[in-house]
Symmetry: D2
Subunit: 160 residues, 4 copies
């Protein structure tokens, strides 16, 4: 059984057609898992739905607490890419004995996000096959939390 | 560096609008990897483009030979789901010292296949994290080649 | 109020993922009208769901009877493209006092058919603005029923 | 021959994946016409690419001048929905002898806009079948310019 914690980010942004802007309504994770024909037992928990640029340290502590309190030891977190590395560091300090994989998307799922589905398949797989630790799964690869940054010019995650 | 061998299957079927039927033209793998923002170095080789129901033993031997001859020891194979297990067995007998992951899709990528992108992300991830052996990556999980079958009623892969 | 008669054709074909072939299940017309934000009052009637290559003269007579019996004088018919012209001729002989517009698609709606949505918008518009008669709406234009054929090489409708 | 004037609006908005916001890059009209298999001769001219909430009177005069100077007497204009009615009024005062149809979308084409394709098919059809005048084609119907408003609560165009 895998726990999936939803925190928002590009993954779950939608287009508000009345006001012409992006916003959060609900998570698309259950729909994405269904369309991906995922048969791994998964428990989805929406912790928050926010842009990761707006996350405070209290938000990150809350996410870490959800990891600590999770009865499952394999946890996937969907998260905005901008501060994914910062949240991973907070979790790493608080959760030593689980496999936690953070993932995200460059394009909202609702806009035909190919990278969201690709990354979700990747995160669900790495969380089953990696030893305890905190990782990012982006761009088809996994990074250890202390060894990665998002390149703001290219939008790509890379080893430090 | 990962080698991706293309053999056809639902993944790469397209709609022929002049004749109203499904057919193969080219593989969509490079496009899928690009849209998935995959940054893992990948070398794509089209071995064949066929429905796996039509594969002969000679076809499977040819796929196994491509695995054996591959300079890369991590290999993903896209394959029709109907005889994926049979091909995996042929590869297992011929390729003892590599990590080979077969994957496929229930819906063609050209028809908005969510499971194709999800499975591709999954296969690319498992091939990097699993020890030598031959596996199937479907439905968000991985199976050892000798321990899986496709349930023809439900379209789902399951442990024997 | 416009009546929409569903007869099948590429418009409504779906992908059967268990058997890897195309088939009919239900019409997508109500969903297409909803996604197109169509606000014209429309009454949708499914007459049949079939490939137009399999239509018999009795089928065409049945479609013509539905036109004749329709309380609405503005009628859109979704129809396979292969014998759309033949059905139009049967309707023209039987329905002198209504505006009937046949339309279709080259790619199934379920496969992201751009031409289905485009043609539906076109047919709904022509049926409101053309005088009594039987027309085909394809490729952004309208044709009078006796003045058109489908070019089998190119898949395009053209004036005779 | 139909002239299509591009002015921007939701139709052509794209997702900027580096900054997580909506923006304009290029018009999608040629691609939409190609996917819609439109065979009507069309000349596309990009006049501007802007959100219609930011349009000034000078912008509207410029659009009207493009209509007046167009060698074609049948003109489709893609336009943001928020001030489409205002622009239509400016055109109506300046262009008495042509058929001008303004259309738009509630969802960007790049986000799988079904209403953009539907409305484009509708506008291309109405512009061929309506007499001289200035119209809006939205929601499957056409409105005369002086007889319509956008309902801001529902996003739907309606007769006054």
């Amino acid at each position: 059984m895998i726990r999936v914690l939803i925190t928002g980010g590009t993954f779950d942004k939608e287009y508000d057609e009345l006001h012409g802007r992006l916003y959060f309504k609900d998570t698309h994770l259950p729909e994405m898992l269904r369309l991906g024909r995922c048969r791994v037992p998964v428990e989805v928990e929406t912790v928050m739905l926010m842009d990761s640029l707006n996350m405070t340290d209290a938000d990150r502590q809350r996410i870490a607490a959800c990891c600590r309190n999770s009865p499952q030891s394999r946890i996937v977190i969907t998260h905005g890419t901008d501060t994914m590395v910062e949240t991973a560091a907070v979790i790493a300090a608080a959760v030593p004995d689980k496999t936690v994989v953070l993932t995200g998307a460059m394009v909202p799922y609702a806009f035909g996000s190919s990278d969201g589905l690709f990354n979700l398949g990747s995160a669900i797989s790495f969380v089953q096959s990696l030893p305890h630790g905190v990782y990012l799964a982006m761009n088809g690869t996994h990074f250890e939390w202390h060894n990665v940054r998002k390149n703001r010019e290219t939008g790509v995650f890379e080893e430090i």
